[in-house]
């Protein structure tokens, strides 16, 4: 099979992997070599589905010995199989990089023969790129659950980001749908990576030349809707991963049926709205100072379909509003529906010069369509004061900013080890 045919199979098989982030790492490449990474991340193209392309995203192989129920590559699914040689991946990466098509490589794989056998080949690609080819661009490696800690360590030394997919939100589901994997094999490398990242940060404070370990951090991914966990369970899991394991990102991917299997739910369509709401809630955890327990509870364990989680929270907490734009601190501004990080920063920066009026808000580019029910500017409001949550709820639902828009950045199932 020629390289082009393999590329078609192995990039096609990788396209459901959600992570396209190439940011978070600043690496000045070796002076005689090729490549650096930029901390803000660069998109090199946008695919026909509108998603950003920044990395050559491929599987090393789709020839899997495992049979996870939710995955296209499961051994019992009759799809065409292919495997790259290390040389092929290295050459593709370099040729694409030199022409500025990509920021670097995202390499994942199905399990060939054994986890270690697969992981070793993946690490070899990264190692050759860094040491033989002096490649300084971005490398993201997926860790195959069950591979030895020696290989995980090596992967972290060559890659900017490494990730272990948590796959399903609970041990029980994992056992049912991916019986050949186990929680231990996933959690162990995750915590190992977390420790190594922390250690290398400490060491590099003392010694600038100490080796970096996955400088862009670790991320993970889980499939939503293939198993019965509630949104509350999922969010608490993510919260724990961010707090205890120091993860950079958790990716959620709506389950898309691949093959009939009586262990799997029958869905009319992939739960894209649910995935979108989880991403919104995840943002609240990471950037807005919310906790999972503020967003959901055992009594109300699912995210609202009609309102984004921040608006839903605001409607449950009328005592918090209205927020005074000219006095509220940054953290409080962030709690206002419709005011994001950018807007909150703009407000704080502009009110240093003079108090902001409702018109002034528009001038500095803050959209108040949704926020107007929750704010006042030096006592002035563009809305009637004292509206009850029920009234606000209705007005928001009646068109004013209630359109449920699907994510701009489409994120679909990532089904690979």
């Amino acid at each position: 099979m020629d390289t082009q045919a393999k590329l078609q199979i192995l990039s096609g098989a990788a396209r459901y992997d959600a992570s396209c982030a190439s940011s978070g790492s600043k690496r000045e490449g070796p002076s005689c070599g090729t490549g650096n990474t930029s901390s803000s991340g660069i998109c090199h193209s946008w695919a026909d589905d509108g998603r950003c392309i920044s990395l050559l995203k491929v599987l090393l192989s789709n020839d899997c010995i495992y049979d996870c129920a939710y995955c296209v590559n499961r051994s019992t699914n009759p799809v065409e199989r292919a495997s790259f040689t290390a040389r092929e991946v290295i050459d593709l990466t370099l040729e694409f990089y030199r022409r500025n098509y990509i920021e670097g490589l995202f390499l994942s794989s199905a399990v060939m023969r054994s986890p270690d056998h697969t992981m070793e080949r993946m690490v070899r690609v990264a190692e050759a790129l860094r040491t033989e080819e002096q490649f300084g661009g971005y490398i993201h490696l997926k860790i195959i659950p069950g591979s030895s800690s020696e290989l995980v360590r090596k992967a972290g030394l060559y890659a900017d980001r490494i990730s272990v997919n948590i796959e399903l939100p609970s041990q029980a589901s994992l056992q049912r749908l991916a019986p050949q994997k186990n929680k231990q094999a996933i959690i162990e490398p995750m915590s190992l990576i977390g420790r190594e990242i922390a250690d290398s940060l400490v060491e590099r404070k003392v010694n600038r030349r100490a080796p970096r370990f996955a400088p862009a951090g670790q991320s993970t991914q889980m499939i939503i809707g293939a198993s019965p966990e509630t949104d509350f369970q999922i969010l608490r899991l993510s919260q724990g991963l961010y707090k205890k394991m120091n993860l950079k990102r958790v990716y959620y991917s709506a389950y898309v049926p691949v093959m009939a299997d009586n262990r799997l739910p029958v869905l009319a369509a992939p739960p894209l709205l649910r995935e979108h709401r989880l991403y919104q809630a995840d943002w609240l955890l990471r950037f807005y100072g919310f906790s999972a327990e503020e967003i959901l509870s055992d009594e109300a364990p699912h995210l609202d379909d009609s309102f984004d989680p921040k608006t839903a929270w605001a409607l449950r907490h009328p005592e918090f509003f209205p927020v005074e734009i000219n006095r509220a601190d940054y953290a409080t501004l962030l709690r206002v529906p419709g005011i994001g990080v950018v807007s909150a920063k703009r407000i704080v920066a502009a009110r240093r010069f003079s108090p902001i009026t409702p018109e002034g808000l528009k001038k500095i580019g803050v959209v108040i369509k949704r926020a107007k029910y929750f704010i006042i500017c030096s006592g002035r409001s563009s809305e009637k004061p004292d509206q009850s949550p029920t009234v606000i709820r209705q007005r928001l639902l009646l068109g004013e900013g209630s359109v449920v828009s699907l994510p701009k950045q489409l994120v679909l199932p990532g089904l690979f080890a």
Partner: protein
């Protein structure tokens, strides 16, 4: 209200601003424009002084690095008719430091910041969308037609990235070029451009990229509108993956 004129060059603009800030007690009441030599033009022409322009810029950079960066991005846009706003912006920057960029309720600040943002956005975009082709002699060439005059910072970016290659950037409309070879970066103009022959394997690599580009999209999620809003069609001309569309 005093009016001043300058010769229309970037150096002229900066030295005029430097001079006005020096002598005018209230620069925010001053009008500055490029000299067009029309009959009714009014105002005192300020001489261009490249050294003054440079020292002025580095002074601003020290005092308010972020505002200096905005000024730099604004200049990439080569906008005419906004000199007065720029003067007021710089004067405010010396008063408030980098906080000035938050003063978006001020019209001059808003105008300058918006233009600077557009130029900065195109620069960032081109860092991703620029495409190099390998030539017969082993060098790489990238052609582009950006709205703004971004070749300098763009070439600087690639001088960090594609260090081991010999490459050229060519701004087709402005006829300006940058060249990187063995650790040195040069700029110049090209009067007569003839497209050089491509290396033998170039078409093969391009076909691989086109194949990857096609397969990486999720087939039932085609979204041409989102694609175009992220990657406007004006940039497609030189995109390998968009040839023949």
């Amino acid at each position: 209200m005093n009016s001043y004129l300058y010769d229309g060059t970037a150096d002229g603009l900066l030295s005029a601003i430097a001079w006005i800030l020096e002598v005018e007690p209230d620069p925010e009441k001053v009008i500055l424009s490029a000299r067009k030599d029309t009959l009714f033009e009014e105002g005192l022409t300020i001489n261009t002084d490249a050294a003054l322009a440079e020292s002025f810029f580095s002074r601003l950079k020290q005092y308010a690095p972020d505002a200096a960066h905005t000024l730099y991005s604004f200049m990439l846009a080569e906008k005419e008719g906004m000199e007065t706003s720029l003067l007021h912006y710089v004067s405010l920057a010396f008063r408030h430091g980098d906080k000035v960029k938050g003063y978006l309720t001020h019209p001059a600040v808003r105008d300058i910041v918006n233009v600077a943002k557009k130029a900065g956005r195109e620069l960032h975009r081109m860092k991703g969308l620029l495409r190099f082709e390998k030539l017969q002699d082993g060098a790489y060439l990238a052609k582009m037609e950006p709205d703004y005059n971004i070749i300098h910072p763009l070439a600087y970016h690639f001088s960090h990235r594609l260090r081991a290659q010999h490459w050229f950037l060519y701004d087709v409309k402005r006829r300006t070029a940058a060249r990187w070879n063995k650790g040195s970066l040069q700029f110049g103009t090209i009067e007569q451009f003839t497209t050089p022959a491509l290396s033998e394997d170039e078409k093969k690599v391009q076909a691989l990229w086109q194949a990857f580009f096609k397969t990486i999209a999720i087939p039932d999620r085609k979204n041409p509108r989102l694609q175009k809003s992220n990657m406007p069609m004006k940039y497609w001309k030189y995109l390998v993956e968009k040839q023949g569309e």
